[in-house]
Amino acid sequence: MRIIPHFSAEGLSNVYLIVDDDGNGIIIDPGQVDREILEFIEHFCTRLAAVLITHRHESHTAGLGTLLKIYDVDVYAYGKSIGSIETIQFSDGETKRIGNIDVKALLVPGHSMDSLVYSIDGAIFTGDTISSGSVAMTDSFVEKELLIKSLEEKVMTLDDNTLIFPGHGAPSKIRIEKMLNQDMLESEASTTGKAYRVH
């Protein structure tokens, strides 16, 4: 399996192309479909099998229309549709086989109520829920608590070596986030009353 990250200058987000051993490709969060990502698809894939959407925000979906004009491909998300585009829905904890790859979806609400984290093999694609060193912006403290609780229950319980590919910024690992994610550490400190130090 190949994981090819691509930086999208519009929205400053990461688009990921995953290719299985038979050349089936999966695009995660097509925030922008530019020449480079199309060249990756044409070079590495024999066919594009699916598009996975972590959540409906523009910086993760703006290129979806362009992609669907070029490729006849299924779109997967938590909600029934992305704009006018119908999706195949994932429910929390559900696993679907796409090409030769098992994709498991974990619902991690907070940043948006439709935020999914996709778990593929030993890697997770977290969209905006968690990125290296921080968690997503939320509209209120209630949503922040919901997000952190979901992350603690569903994401931080994964194996320490699990690779994290976020929607924005550099990749990471669960081990790194357990030690250095300041938002998670601050939340833990505020709920347990225990102080933390990182150095």
């Binding site: 399996m1 190949r2 994981i3 990250p5 930086f7 400053l12 990461n14 093999d121 030993g122 890697a123 290296s132 060193g133 921080s134 194996d159 320490d160 070596n161 690779l163 910024g169 550099a170 990749p171 990471s172 690992k173 081990r175 790194i176 030690m179 250095l180 300041q182 400190a189 102080a195 933390y196 130090r197 990182v198 150095h199």
Partner: protein, 202 residues
Amino acid sequence: MFSLKKCSMPGCHAFTYNGGDYCFHHSENKKELFQNAVRMLEKGNEFRNISMPAASFRNLEVHKGGKIIGSNFSFCVFENCTFEDVSVYSVFFDFCVFRSCVFHSCDIRYAIFSGSTFTDTIITDTAAIYSNFMGINAENCDFSSNDFYYSNFSLSKLSDVSMDDCNLKRTSFRSCITKSVSFRFSNPEEAFFRKEEPYRIM
């Protein structure tokens, strides 16, 4: 990307060396694998999809113009190693030790150096973009003339580090501890800093 298959040795959670049954340390021919890896790094044009955590590299001179892609070097030690004109894409160097190493004219993207220690190490004329330097401990290092666009140095400790003439647009230094760090001719105003107390101590 390196194989995400786990080692068959009971209790071992490490990734396999290159998709076989065992990780680097539980492979019977560990010495041979290490020598092959060193040969590939020094002589080959491309080092791809290999996972060899906690290995020690000394006096390594990575092949000029070579590419290191989708590999895992977590917990490795690099001493007196030179990376000149090397492309490094999606490579994990988390919790490594870099001592007296040189990265010159490299193209580094989506690389992870989190939790690593850099001592007497030089990174110059290098593009190190979209990369993760979170929680690094750098001492007496020269990180000048680099492009650190959208890289993350949050929670790191930089002591006697020169970051002169660097592009720091969208670079994060959130809760970074800095001592004798110079940003001459760089653009720290375009980087992200957080001014609160970085951490509370009991």
